[in-house]
């Protein structure tokens, strides 16, 4: 049996320290935590930076490094620094060395990087080793070249290679959320279906249990199945909470694709061992013929400036769409006259907060609110252009009248200046897999004794 201790769904979200101590006391074989996700959007991958504050990351990571020393087992983080680029891995490595120095500890650190050079991805595309996943955007060599970062999602093989270095701490770039948990049980000959399924259930920490924000859980994987045990006070796993977790952020609740195969949980049975622990058996790992890794890439799609005005006058609230349509026409004329730019050069959206800002054209409800926010979103080819186009929008949002003959109205601006430069607008542009002959060929592994 291999016992994996998972402190929380992501480093930076916090964990229950009492429960973590309980987990250390239970004698784990590995401590594994996820460091990232695409869920916060393309900016983090585009820039190669973490979503979480350095201070929060350092405080939580320090607690895990101390726990690791106490337990005397490896500590693994996957998708370091939210996006798992080399820059984010280096950022966490520096924090790690700082912590070890402060604690007076030494450790062997394995650093796994998942960055993909543009030339490698272009070569793979040219030799038909890149395949689209469902609803992938069209790609070509030019678009690949526009990516500021491309990463491949490492699987169990690459994490196992990092563990094989004898590392005390593994800092991995982009990995699948599950690989950091599944790798050791698979390496030690446990049931592969149970290892992947247990990893999927455990990867969000206690989200698979009641008291989901408590974080800390144990996943025990053996030759036949796995057992999940939440460790915080008041946290209970039930067959329902555990099986329902397969729904979470999954487009298919029974199938999970990983490098080298897929997990099928159609035949899994979930049994309560007591009021806290759940036993799962019957999950199946189906190896694939080809070894593929998923790619993620982000590029700059433009530069944005936003403005926010809030309309409180009931007559304007009632007519806000007409008001915006009129502004859009007049503003476009002014941008053409003053800047010589047309619709091919930039876009302006006037989004109505309080009406349909979340759902847009899908919003079926109409109702009158006390106020409505108008968020002007300018996307242009440079930040300077976006800012100038925003400046040309400013007087309209401040004073535009519904009719010519009324007194000039004024609307609420929450900020001065009204124009807020957002910087680059990033886009994910890859939803593809890359075929490889050897799992390590697209990854680099380095070992440092710090």
């Amino acid at each position: 049996m291999i016992r994996v201790l998972i402190p929380s769904g992501a480093l930076g979200l916090g964990y229950d320290k009492v429960a973590l101590a309980r987990g250390i006391g239970a004698g784990p074989d590995l401590i594994a935590i996820d460091g990232g996700s695409t869920d916060s959007g393309p900016s983090y991958l585009g820039r190669g930076v973490s979503k979480y504050a350095r201070a929060a990351t350092k405080a939580e990571w320090k607690g895990l490094i101390e726990a690791r020393a106490e337990a005397g087992v490896p500590l693994v983080i996957g998708t370091a620094g939210t996006c798992g680029t080399g820059s984010a891995v280096d950022w966490l490595y520096d924090i790690t060395v700082e912590i070890l120095t402060e604690l007076g500890q030494t450790a062997r650190i394995a650093v796994l990087k998942s960055d993909q050079p543009i030339a490698r991805v272009r070569e793979a595309l040219a030799t038909n080793r890149i395949s689209p996943l469902p609803h992938a955007p069209h790609i070509d060599a030019d678009l690949i070249g526009q990516c500021t970062h491309i990463v491949a999602l490492a699987g169990a093989e690459q994490i196992a290679a990092a563990l094989d270095t004898g590392a005390d701490i593994v800092i991995a770039g982009r990995t699948t959320d599950t690989a950091i948990i599944a790798a050791l049980p698979i390496q030690r000959g446990m049931h592969p279906g149970a290892a992947w399924h247990g990893a999927k259930i455990g990867e969000c920490g206690a989200l698979c249990a009641t008291n989901p924000q408590s974080g800390v859980i144990l996943v025990d994987v053996d030759e036949a199945g796995f057992t999940v045990t939440p460790l915080a006070d008041g946290a209970h796993a039930t067959p329902h909470t555990v099986s329902a977790h397969m729904l979470y952020e999954n487009s298919d609740p029974f199938i999970l694709y990983e490098p080298g195969g897929h997990l099928d949980v159609t035949g899994a049975s979930y049994v309560a061992l007591d009021d806290t622990r759940v036993r799962v058996e019957g999950s199946e790992w189906v190896p694939s013929d080809r070894y593929t890794v998923k790619l993620e890439g982000a590029r700059v799609a433009g530069y944005q400036t936003i403005l926010i005005a809030i309309l409180r006058d009931p007559r304007y609230v009632a007519s806000v769409q007409d008001w915006c349509d009129d502004i859009a026409v007049r503003h476009a004329d002014r941008v053409a006259q003053r800047m010589g730019l047309g619709p091919q050069d930039y876009s302006l959206e006037l989004r109505l907060v309080g009406q349909n800002a979340t759902l847009g054209a899908l919003e079926p409800r109409a109702g009158s609110a006390a106020e409505v926010g108008v968020m002007g979103i300018v996307t242009a080819q440079t930040q300077e252009q976006a800012n100038d186009i925003g400046k040309l929008l400013n007087p309209f949002l401040l004073h535009h009248p519904l009719t010519q003959d009324e007194e000039q109205p004024t609307f609420a601006f929450p900020f001065s200046p009204a124009e807020i430069d957002r910087g680059p607008a990033w886009e994910f542009c890859l939803n593809h897999v890359m075929e490889m002959a050897d799992p390590m060929e697209a990854f680099t592994l380095q070992v440092h004794d710090a």
Binding site: T38, D39, S40, G41, P42, S43, L133, P134, H135, A136, P137, H240, S243, A244, L247, Y248, E249, N250, S251, D252, P253, F254, A301, G302, S347, E349, R351, A357, T358, L359, G360, A361, L362, E363, P364, R365, I377, T379, A425, W426, E427, F428, N431
Partner: protein
Amino acid sequence: MPEVGAIAEKVRSKNAGPFWATIDIFCGTAEAYERVSRGLTSDSVAAAFQMEVGDLKRFDIPGLRVVKFSLPRPAVQGTAGDRDMHGAGWGPMVAELVIP
């Protein structure tokens, strides 16, 4: 006719990666599951998303008393057309669909 949200215990939506969205309807009771599973048609969900029903994946899971839909995101996460980075708003929209 009642809204789905009045029958089900919880309706949530979330990204399933940057390119897909997923909506989970937790019905709670077996009776509620029967009503939602039978009453909420794939056509009505596709119509709400203004999409082809052929692109909608549907899972009726009696063991969990869950009806789940997955679909290509109306706009890829984070693109200019995307209004909802984490896909939070579609759950309430589906919760407001009416069923017999």
